[in-house]
């Protein structure tokens, strides 16, 4: 149970700033994900916590103590790497026992403990195998066991599921969460995959361009993103330009009621997740609905994803059961837009990350009623 606090943590490589003033509290015994696209600084942050890199500025505190100058080997934070980094000249058992050997634990005891930990990660009997003789999933488990045997206060995982096949991920995820709970380990997971972050962690720190962008519980990122960028990163397929009037947002789809307190000034993006659109002839409880024509649809195994054009705006809709409605191209579809499914994020007409969105929505805005969309060059009022 070690609380971690990062204070203004900064790392520069020459003129490139990989991590820029990251301040973050990581609660003892929790799993926190550092999430972001490649190059956002998340692995740099993890190595700074591990002590494998020296910060250019800022501090790392474990339980309130400044450990910034404590070398990695004495910090008590063990890192598990994405590419497992097993020692190729050591057997699985000796890899697991490596840390104990460094501490001077006698051979016999090392062996015993290594076998116990290997059993814990489901690799009993494989102690004598060499890394090259193990599958990718097994190698990753050995790497985890090698960290766990040291009973670390802090466990740092770099993309723990990224190199695994889909069917191995589930087992690895459960293993990580189980041992984390058993030992109340303060765990930091680095990942580029929002799903992985959501299933592994209680807390997500989203990083863009070396800066902390949004921090909170996984659910908020899906349901209540703070920015357009967060929304897009979490797979928001439907972003409709609009303008707020009280508790309503005027959009090409019409004037729609949104929940109280959604972020953004007068200019907003209205967002709705594809699975939250209600499909069918029966309109939603509050009666907010639109009608559109299906442009294309694709069966995705457990659901059908359709693109529906409504008033010149294309909406992505997930239909759980296509028996409920005809989603073939060309068919008409009624889509319920219940207020609780809607959310807004601020819209900056000329902000850096939005030109793509502006391009996409340009023709829409032009064809829509001029009163509900703003010209792309007008700045948002804060």
């Amino acid at each position: 149970m070690t609380d971690i606090r990062l204070e203004g943590l900064t790392r520069r490589y020459g003129s490139v700033t990989a991590l820029d003033g990251l301040t973050l509290d990581i609660g003892g015994g929790t799993v926190t994900a550092l999430l972001g696209p490649s190059g956002c600084g998340k692995t740099t942050a993890l190595k700074l916590v591990a002590g494998l890199l020296d910060p250019s500025g800022g501090q790392v505190l474990f339980d309130g103590h400044d450990v910034t100058d404590v070398p990695a080997e004495r910090r008590g934070a063990v890192m598990v790497f994405q590419d497992h980094r097993l020692f190729p000249y050591l057997s699985a058992g000796d890899n697991v026992a490596f840390g104990l050997k460094m501490r001077g634990v006698p051979r016999r005891q090392r062996r015993r403990e290594a076998e116990a930990v290997l059993e814990r990660v489901g690799l009993d009997g494989l102690a004598d195998r060499h890394p090259a003789e193990l599958s990718g999933g097994q190698q990753q488990r050995v790497a985890l066991a090698r960290a766990l045997i040291l009973q670390p206060e802090v466990l740092l995982l770099d993309e723990p599921l990224a190199n695994l096949d889909a069917h191995l991920r589930e087992g690895m995820r459960e293993l990580i969460l189980d041992v984390q709970r058993e030992r109340d380990l303060t765990t930091v997971v680095v990942t580029h995959d929002q799903e992985e972050a959501v299933v592994l962690s209680e807390d997500i720190a989203l990083l863009f361009d070396g800066r902390l962008h949004q921090h909170g519980a996984p659910r908020t990122f899906f349901e209540h993103p703070a920015t357009e960028r967060t929304a897009r990163f979490f797979g928001a397929a439907n972003l409709v330009a609009g303008r707020r009037h009280g508790d309503r947002v005027h959009t090409p789809l019409g004037s729609l009621r949104v929940p109280d307190g959604t972020p953004g000034g007068p200019d907003v993006w209205l967002t709705v997740r594809p699975e939250r659109l209600v499909v069918g002839d029966t309109p939603a409880a509050d009666g907010q609905h639109v009608q559109g024509r299906v442009v294309s649809s694709a069966f995705l195994g457990t659901r059908t994803r359709a693109t529906v054009e409504v008033a010149g705006v294309r909406l992505t809709v997930d239909v759980a059961d296509d028996a409920l409605a005809d989603v073939g191209p060309g068919s008409l579809l009624t889509l319920g837009l219940p207020a609780e499914a809607l959310w807004t994020v601020p819209r900056e007409a000329t902000a850096g990350p939005t030109p793509r969105a502006a391009d996409e929505l340009g023709p829409v805005a032009a064809s829509a009623d001029g009163t509900v969309t703003s010209p792309p060059d007008r700045r948002t009022q804060p």
Binding site: Y13, L52, D54, S56, P71, A72
Partner: protein, 287 residues
């Protein structure tokens, strides 16, 4: 903070700037000293080659002169005729070894088959077995065949250590080349010959050039095989250098030695460009 900032990371590889490593300055000094030691033997050569009468105990020459270099570079002199012989033999060795090395290198570099390790070992032994043993063993036969004492015999003898280098280096070249592109070209309708000419050749040419240069250099530096097979009648640069070194003009010896080092420098630059600086590691330079 400044200490950290000074550790600039070059490119994407980030070994520098790793936490807890000793500071860079002390390391630079030690490396500098090491490089100086490695280069030290060239210092007296350069000084002597530019001196007029480099007698004990001069450190810097009393009189500077380009005399030795003029002698070495004189087209009618001994060095020049030795150069012509050395280059003739070297080019012949390079071409012949390349001719047998390209097909063999391709097989070794791209195919997996039973006995591959044995083939590699067989090819490596001539590099490892002392050249004296080879020279003495082959000399009498060459005498009988009339090959001793002439350039063709020396070329054949040089092929023994040179060919394995060229083969094993070409194998590496073919192993690293993306020969899937050949299949792509064939499927797009290119003939066998056109594929080789327009697809394979551009892929492997730089690497093969380095391999060929290696073959040339093995011959270029060869001493004992030339001495025994050439029987004193084939005077290459190493033979001449050895002769001047054991009782000749110190300045001319130094200039000859430096002149004799030039292709090595060319090879160094070529390998650093083509193979990323680790080409020599393959066999430890030339023997």
């Amino acid at each position: 903070m400044t200490a950290v900032d000074a550790r600039q990371v070059q490119g994407s590889s980030a070994p520098a700037g790793v936490a807890g490593q000793p500071q860079g300055t002390g390391r630079s000094v030690v490396v500098g000293a090491m490089l100086l030691l490695l280069l030290a033997p060239f210092v007296p050569l350069v000084l002597a080659s530019l001196a007029e009468g480099y007698f004990f105990p001069q450190v810097l020459p009393d009189r500077w002169s380009t005399r030795a270099w003029r002698i070495v570079l004189d087209p009618s002199g001994r060095t020049w005729s030795a150069l012509v012989d050395t280059v003739t033999i070297g080019v012949a060795v390079m071409v012949l070894s390349l001719v047998v090395a390209i097909p063999a290198g391709r097989v070794l570099g791209t195919r997996r088959f039973r006995g591959k390790r044995v083939v590699e070992l067989v090819l490596l032994t001539p590099v490892l077995v002392p050249a004296v043993a080879v020279a003495i063993g082959i000399h009498v036969v060459f005498l009988r065949l009339g090959l001793a004492g002439g350039i063709p015999g020396v070329v054949l003898a040089h092929l023994i250590p040179a060919t394995p280098y060229v083969i094993l280096l070409s194998a590496g070249v073919f192993a690293n080349a993306d020969l899937e592109l050949e299949a792509q070209a064939r499927s797009l309708g290119a003939s066998w010959w056109r594929t080789r000419l327009h697809v394979t050749l551009p892929l492997v040419a730089p690497g093969l050039a380095v391999a060929a240069l290696f073959g040339f250099l093995v011959s270029w530096g060869q001493y004992v095989l030339t001495l025994v097979i050439g029987g004193g009648r084939v005077v290459t640069l190493p033979i001449l250098l050895f002769a001047t070194a054991s009782g000749g003009d110190a300045s001319v010896t130094a200039a000859t030695a430096l002149f004799h080092s030039l292709p090595a420098v060319v090879l160094l630059v070529a390998t650093t460009r083509v193979l990323g600086g680790q080409g020599f590691a393959t066999f430890g330079g030339t023997r």
